[in-house]
């Protein structure tokens, strides 16, 4: 965009220096005198009652300062989901309980003087379990006779406790049956997706202590400081204002830290021991005692006319949320509300059961229900296009949502309640498709015939979208004050979890105030010193937190201009701010530097230039994405090598193009693992089989394909400087694009993730056998 000085520029990250020099920046990078090591005793059984629990020997061990069981703590039903109050997830979780519902569920917790003593103490806790039948298969969870996982009477918000249904959704627009009757062709397929784990390189970690004023301080790796504060206060039954949550630098979140996970137990231990307590998950615990993506079984049915127009789409989903209902209704709600309306079908129906199983707990994970839904929809769309003899590009162009359209389904499927209709005010999807197709060599590669070798190549595509913040729910606030040197302190509740939010917010403030980026000093994510922000999720930070920062900066700018007007004897409307100074726009070029103005304000006017603002949107403008994959299938081993992955995204305006590209590249890497290699596997007793990096395979630097990232910028009226979002949408495309590319290469459809070599080989064999 012309005339912008900071926004749209690739400034160095404001926290970059600290990170490249190994500065003490993360939760664990402090040493507190007397700090104890906390550890959780996880259940060895998938489903059991604690018949007897005796902690006397553990308590008597030298160096142990606290041991807690359900008998020692208040019983407060809650959800751990980091969502706005009242959270739309069931209140079915307890700090510590007399029942355990998955392998790894909390049995007890200890705080001791060293990790070794803590581990020894855990082994000294005597537990007698009354082992109950476990429900491990989501397809059996609602069956008559299945064990009831949440049979407790005090949990709230569970849709149908007796049948293990945490959440249920049945919403639509139009009349799908009528739509199918009018269709020339109907296609119906089933798809399955797996349990993926976030694998942040920094596992969950929390340090909690009582300060000198007896306030509970929680220093933690979180995406949601404010929700966590509220929830911890409620669970520990202390006033919110007695709790402080501090978010330092975070080593990745991806949704796994949109959760109150260790903060409550760390706080409880700190209060019991009256010493600081650190709890950190080992990598193994991170895999199965944190959160995962929701596995789903999706049945998708689409009715089309012969010319490719989609008349009706009906999606039926069975998902499991694991042992507790964190994000149960909202993730799956997204599977419907963000996926189906990609197409302009007048009739849509979304029908979903979210069931409990005695398995690791599912929660928020980048994409939030969309990767599952788009895998189904975009793979089916490709199949339909081929059956109709259409280029998938043409099929998409005909059907995808357009600028000016209204998405009425989102009014039906808000976050757990009635939502708001969505108007598309910016849409770069056509250009995304065109430029992505060009980057991958779509036309040439589809036309090429294969040679006779065992390596076969193919190309595939997928179109996807997401949201930018939750309409009418996500909100943020920010505060700015001016200092003597013309620098502004920006206090934002927003949670930078590594993607560069602090930098982007500083850019927005700097651009609005007319200063250089070094003149913004940002503090974020501290519930004592920064104002409220829902936190980093739903792709909300740039658009919502950024919106608040822009508003606050505009108010402060007005104060600056007000004082400058006095100093320069010129009306404010004839003044401009740029380059750390205020100057007149008329012929007499008068100016005052920001620092001179500040000195004058503070010491002559006795005025602190400062102000704050809040912001939310009543709509959630979607970023759009077209993903193109070229694969090479080894027909002897079934291995699929992704040769090239091109992602064209419309994020609105990219406030920081390199950080925006970084979001695409990181999301796509997770999408590649989701498509081909990642799955947390459980055995017949619900125990994890591959809770480590050796056996749970992520893509490494050697596995990555050639990546092309194309930013197709549009101007979104609801976003600061035209920005929407980019952090989630690129993760949705790789799985369907790859599945479609495999079909293009070897003529087999895989409808189950991850797509393993064995699956490809098996499909190839049955394809050959069928012919």
């Amino acid at each position: 965009m012309s005339g912008r000085n900071v926004v749209g520029k690739n400034v160095r990250k404001v926290d970059g220096l600290k990170l490249v020099t190994g500065g003490a920046a993360f939760t664990d990078d402090i040493q507190l005198p007397g700090m104890l090591y906390g550890k959780i005793l996880g259940s060895p059984h998938a489903h059991a009652r604690l018949k007897r629990i005796d902690t006397r020997k553990a308590k008597a061990l030298l160096g142990v300062h606290a041991v807690l069981t359900y008998k020692d703590v208040p019983r407060v039903p809650h959800t751990t989901a980091g969502q706005s109050w009242p959270e739309p997830s069931p209140y079915d979780t307890y700090l510590l309980d007399s029942k355990v519902r998955y392998v790894g569920d909390r049995v007890a917790a200890v705080a001791a003087e060293s990790r070794a003593i803590a581990e020894r103490a855990l082994r000294l806790i005597e537990v007698e379990y009354d082992v109950l039948p476990a429900v491990l298969d989501m397809e059996q969870a609602m069956a008559p006779g299945a064990a009831v996982i949440h049979d407790e009477s005090d949990s709230k918000g569970i849709h149908d406790r007796e049948h293990n249904v945490a959440g249920y959704i049945h919403r639509g627009i139009g009349d799908v049956e009528q739509g199918f009757r009018e269709s020339d062709c109907i296609f119906e397929r089933e798809f399955r997706t797996q349990r993926q784990q976030h694998c942040p390189i920094e596992p969950h970690i929390t340090i909690s202590w009582l300060d000198a004023n007896d306030r509970l301080v929680i220093r933690t790796s979180t995406q949601v400081p404010y929700h966590t504060r509220r929830q911890v206060a409620m669970i520990l039954q202390i006033p919110v204002s007695r709790v402080q949550v501090i978010k330092p630098r975070i080593g990745g979140g991806f949704g796994g830290k949109q959760e109150m996970l260790l903060e409550d137990i760390a706080g409880a231990l700190a209060m019991a021991a009256r010493r600081p307590v650190k709890i950190e998950y080992t990598r193994e615990e991170e895999f199965y005692m944190a959160r995962t993506r929701h596995p789903q079984i999706l049945r998708m049915k689409m009715g089309v006319k012969r010319d490719g127009t989609i008349l009706a789409s009906h999606m039926i989903v069975l998902a499991t949320t694991g042992a507790y209902g964190s994000h149960a209704g909202t993730v799956q709600g997204n599977t419907g509300s963000k996926v189906l309306p990609l197409y302009r079908a007048p009739n849509m129906l979304f029908h979903c059961h979210v069931v409990y199983t005695n398995t690791p707990v599912a929660g928020a994970f980048r994409g939030y229900g969309c990767p599952q839904g788009f895998f189904a929809q975009e793979t089916l769309a490709d199949e339909i296009a081929r059956e109709l003899g259409m280029d998938p590009l043409e099929f998409h162009s005909r059907n995808v949502i357009r600028l000016g359209d209204i998405d009425r389904l989102s009014a039906q499927l808000g976050e757990g309640k009635e939502g708001l209709p969505r108007v598309i005010r910016s849409c770069g999807l056509p250009q995304c498709m065109e430029r992505g197709a060009e980057a991958i060599g779509w036309r040439e590669k589809r036309a090429k015939t294969q040679d006779g070798g065992h390596l076969k190549r193919g190309v595939g595509m997928a179109c996807t979208m997401q949201g930018s913040g939750i309409a009418g729910v996500d909100w943020a606030s920010a505060f700015l004050k001016m200092n003597e040197d013309g620098a502004f302190f920006l206090q934002a509740g927003a949670a930078d979890v590594g993607g560069g939010a602090d930098t982007v917010l500083a850019q927005i403030a700097a651009e609005t105030l007319g200063v250089t980026i070094d003149k913004i000093v940002i503090t974020s994510g501290d519930t004592d010193s920064t104002p409220f922000d829902v936190g980093a999720y739903a792709s909300s930070t740039t658009i919502i937190s950024g919106g608040a920062v822009k508003k606050a900066a505009e108010k402060v700018r007005a104060q600056v201009l007000g004082l400058a007007s006095k100093l320069l004897d010129t009306p404010p409307d004839k003044l401009e701010c740029a380059n750390n100074e205020v100057f007149t726009t008329c012929a007499c070029r008068k100016s005052v530097s920001m620092s001179d103005l500040a000195m004058h304000a503070l010491y002559k006017e006795k005025l602190q230039i400062m102000d704050g603002a809040s912001h939310f949107n009543t709509d959630s403008p979607p970023p759009f994405c077209a993903t193109f994959a070229e694969v090479e299938v080894d027909t002897e081993t079934g291995q699929v090598r992704v040769v090239h992955l091109a992602t064209a995204v419309d994020p609105g305006v990219a406030i920081h193009p390199k950080l925006a590209e970084g979001q695409v590249e990181g999301a796509v890497a997770q999408g590649l693992g989701y498509a081909l290699t990642e799955e947390l596997v459980l055995d017949g007793a619900g125990r994890p089989l591959n809770a480590n990096f050796c056996d749970y395979k992520m893509f490494s630097a050697k596995d990555m394909p050639k990546l092309t990232t194309i930013l197709v910028e549009t101007d979104e009226p609801l976003g600061p400087f035209g920005a929407k979002s980019i952090s989630e949408v690129p993760i949705n495309g790789p799985a369907p694009a790859i599945a479609n590319a495999i079909f293009d290469a070897v003529g087999v459809r895989i409808r189950k993730l991850p797509i393993r070599p064995e699956d490809v080989l098996k499909a190839l064999r049955s394809e050959v056998a069928a012919q």
Binding site: N10, R12, K13, D15, G16, L17, K18, L19, V20, T21, G22, G23, A24, A25, F26, D28, D29, Q31, H198, C199, P200, I201, E202, P203, R249, I250, G251, G252, F254, E280, T282, R283, V497, G498, G499, G500, K658, L659, E661, G662, V664, E665, G666, A667, V668, A669, Q670, N692, F693, C694, M698, S700, A701, K702, M704, L707
Partner: protein, 167 residues
């Protein structure tokens, strides 16, 4: 608990650490204040704990502290040259290779070791080095580009940029 004395050099400084016989180097380094060395998996898989021991990158979570007796260890804290950032650090900052930063310490240390041995590596060689570092944020592209950029700049005899190092 009986401790033993381990004498070694860390970032050029002579050090003497009191360690338990079964302690790993990662835990000792962090206890001694080298917070830049990160704990990610404790099984030598993620590379976040990477330090150089006698010039070679190793996972400090797999090495017993006592095995570092007499060794020269380089951590991320020792990569900069006094107040001046190393070209690898500059390149990481300029190319958007740093997102959350948790894997960054290890990557920079390994990249520095690579460039010291092979000033002009191929992309394949850089990816081989990066394959020992899991990053969940960047997809590896910008870190790889950063290392190749340093190699190109050094080849051209590029001017080093200076920056104040936070203390």
């Amino acid at each position: 608990m009986k401790t033993m004395e381990v004498r070694l050099k860390v970032n050029g400084e002579g050090k003497q650490f009191a360690v338990a016989p079964g302690e790993v180097l990662l835990d000792v380094l962090r206890r001694e204040g080298y917070f830049g060395v990160k704990r990610g998996c404790e099984k030598g898989e993620c590379g976040a704990c990477t330090v150089l021991v006698n010039g070679r990158p190793v996972n400090s979570c797999l090495m017993f502290a006592a095995q570092a007796e007499g060794a020269e260890v380089l951590t991320i804290e020792g990569v900069a040259h006094g107040d001046v950032l190393d070209p690898v650090q500059e390149a990481f900052l300029d190319s958007g290779a740093v997102q959350c930063g948790f894997c960054t310490s290890g990557m920079i240390v390994s990249a520095r070791a690579l460039l010291d041995r092979r000033p002009d590596p191929t992309e394949e060689e850089v990816r081989e080095v990066m394959a020992g570092h899991f990053c969940r944020c960047t997809g590896y592209l910008k870190p790889v580009e950063a290392v190749l950029a340093v190699a190109r700049k050094t080849k051209r005899g590029g001017r080093k940029q200076t920056a104040r190092v936070a203390r």
